[in-house]
């Protein structure tokens, strides 16, 4: 059977890995190639790069990062952050990315997703969704799409939005709970399950991983097809190999 995927995510700023990767025996923890190579050796199923470069002068650096990584790491690579035009997508794919994640640009211009999937194929277009719970206590659960790092509400219902993005051709959904992101208390499982059951395409759960059990929960209870995490792997709290063995011991099908 198809394995559930474990995807480490690297934040890249002006060509350097930030948010401190702390492998003990790595020469340059800021070098995306070196970090990606390490994750590949540990058995990562894919790697996601999130370009957080603010200055437009340095935008081009992510292209070189992708080129360098794709020349020696032979697993799927996804790039997100600042993807706004079909030209951005073309450059990333030509550099060696397998998929691009579209986030804010999809909210402001949903037709961009349709255009992108028609031009490049659904298989390489991931729509990234940042959602926050907006229902109060005792109310039926409801989540809304937020932009600008979770600060700006859009009025869009997260489940409806995910369905619409799949209608527009999205090949995969990268779902981040803005309530859980950075908290280390686990995925928003109700949100993950609601979205995963609402769409026909794979869903990657993101936001909140602090323990290996959280990864298992994301798959078993959240029905996610893949789990994405950053800090638990970066700080070498757990290796990807450890995470996979933990999941396998609890009945999750993984690639060992």
């Amino acid at each position: 059977m198809l394995a559930k995927r474990i995807i480490p995510c690297l934040d890249v700023d002006a060509g350097r890995v930030v948010k401190g990767v702390k492998f003990i025996d790595i020469r340059d923890a800021g070098d995306p190639v070196e970090v990606a190579r390490r994750y590949n050796e540990e058995g990562a199923d894919e790697i996601t790069f999130l370009d957080i470069t603010a200055s437009s002068d340095n935008r081009e650096t992510i292209v070189h990062v992708v080129e360098d990584v794709a020349s020696e790491v032979f697993i799927p690579l996804t790039v997100g952050g600042g993807i706004r035009t079909t030209e951005d997508i073309r450059r990333m794919l030509n550099a060696g990315a397998d998929k691009v994640a579209i986030n804010t640009a999809a909210v402001f211009n949903p037709e961009f997703v349709r255009e992108a999937t028609e031009r490049f194929g659904s298989q390489c277009i991931v729509v990234a969704i940042d959602a926050k719970q907006v229902s109060g206590e005792g109310e039926p659960l409801k989540w809304e799409i937020f932009t600008h790092g979770g600060r700006r509400p859009t009025g869009l219902d997260a489940v409806d939005w995910a369905r619409r993005m799949v209608e527009y051709g999205a090949g995969e959904i990268l779902l981040t709970s803005m309530d859980r992101d950075g908290t280390k208390i686990g995925f928003d499982l109700a949100l993950t399950r609601a979205i995963s059951e609402a769409v026909t395409v794979p869903v990657i759960a993101s936001g909140g991983v602090g323990t290996l059990q959280h990864l298992v929960d994301g798959v078993a209870e959240g029905k996610a097809d893949a789990v994405l995490a950053a800090s638990i792997f970066h700080f070498a709290e757990y290796s990807i190999g450890e995470a996979k063995r933990y999941m396998a011991d609890r009945g999750v099908e993984v690639r060992l």
């Binding site: 059977m1 198809l2 394995a3 559930k4 995927r5 590949n40 199923d45 794709a70 020349s71 020696e72 032979f74 697993i75 799927p76 794919l93 030509n94 550099a95 060696g96 990315a97 397998d98 490049f120 194929g121 659904s122 298989q123 390489c124 090949g171 995969e172 059951e197 026909t200 395409v201 794979p202 869903v203 029905k223 097809d225 893949a226 690639r255």
Partner: protein, 212 residues
């Protein structure tokens, strides 16, 4: 001895990954060419035929690049590796895009995964995206050193259904069992992406480079 490996470029898909992976496993004096020139494809020692996207777009692109003849000739005459759509378009017809005529080299059809497949009451997503096992249904030089049941990276919504069972060299299970690899004489074609399948994929590419 140095050799030339042509990666056929008809504008469909990520050829950089394919060519980089082939370069990684090729000998240093081998020449890896990404090309849409039929003459270079026909003069190459080996040919890799990748592809991504919709069936009709792929067929249109093959025609626009005047590659039908070169692909078929290469598939008959030299070590030839089809990848993903480079496998599917070798069949006769596809259900994709309301029915699409393909190159017709291999008898059989390309079908869509059923929409309502379930495993343990969980709906299976389409596309199949990720690492799945390939059962080696018979020995083949390209399987050398790769344990039976190894996982490879797949991304697809359609699968091939060849009419002749003796062409099957690998099968995979995704709700239903399907043919993930075919092999005949000098031709080997896989639904998965060896160029994205880490060590197992690189080994398969290395085996292809050495295959005679």
């Amino acid at each position: 001895m140095s050799q030339t490996i042509a990666v056929i470029d008809y504008g469909m898909g990520n050829l950089r990954s394919v060519s980089k992976a082939v370069e990684q496993v090729a000998d240093t004096d081998d020449n890896v060419l990404v090309t849409d020139d039929p003459r270079l494809i026909l003069s190459a020692d080996r040919v890799v035929f990748p592809g991504q996207g919709a069936a009709r777009d792929c067929m249109d692109a093959i025609s626009e690049h005047h590659l039908n003849r070169a692909v078929l000739d290469a598939a008959h005459s030299k070590p030839f590796l089809g990848i993903c759509m480079g496998l599917q378009v070798l069949m006769e017809t596809s259900e994709e895009n309301g029915g699409t005529g393909l190159l017709g080299l291999i008898p059989g059809k390309v079908r869509r995964f059923p929409a309502d497949m379930e495993i343990e009451s969980q709906r299976l997503k389409i596309p199949q995206m990720g690492w799945n096992r390939v059962q080696q249904t018979r020995p083949h030089p390209l399987w050398e050193g790769i344990p039976d049941g190894s996982r490879f990276y797949f991304v697809h919504s359609y699968y091939i259904d060849p009419r002749e069972g003796d062409l099957v060299a690998g099968t995979t299970d995704y709700g239903i069992p399907f043919t993930s690899v075919i092999a005949r004489d000098n031709l080997f074609a896989a639904q998965f992406h060896p160029e994205k399948s880490a060590a197992a994929g690189l080994r398969l590419l290395r085996n292809f480079i050495n295959w005679n």
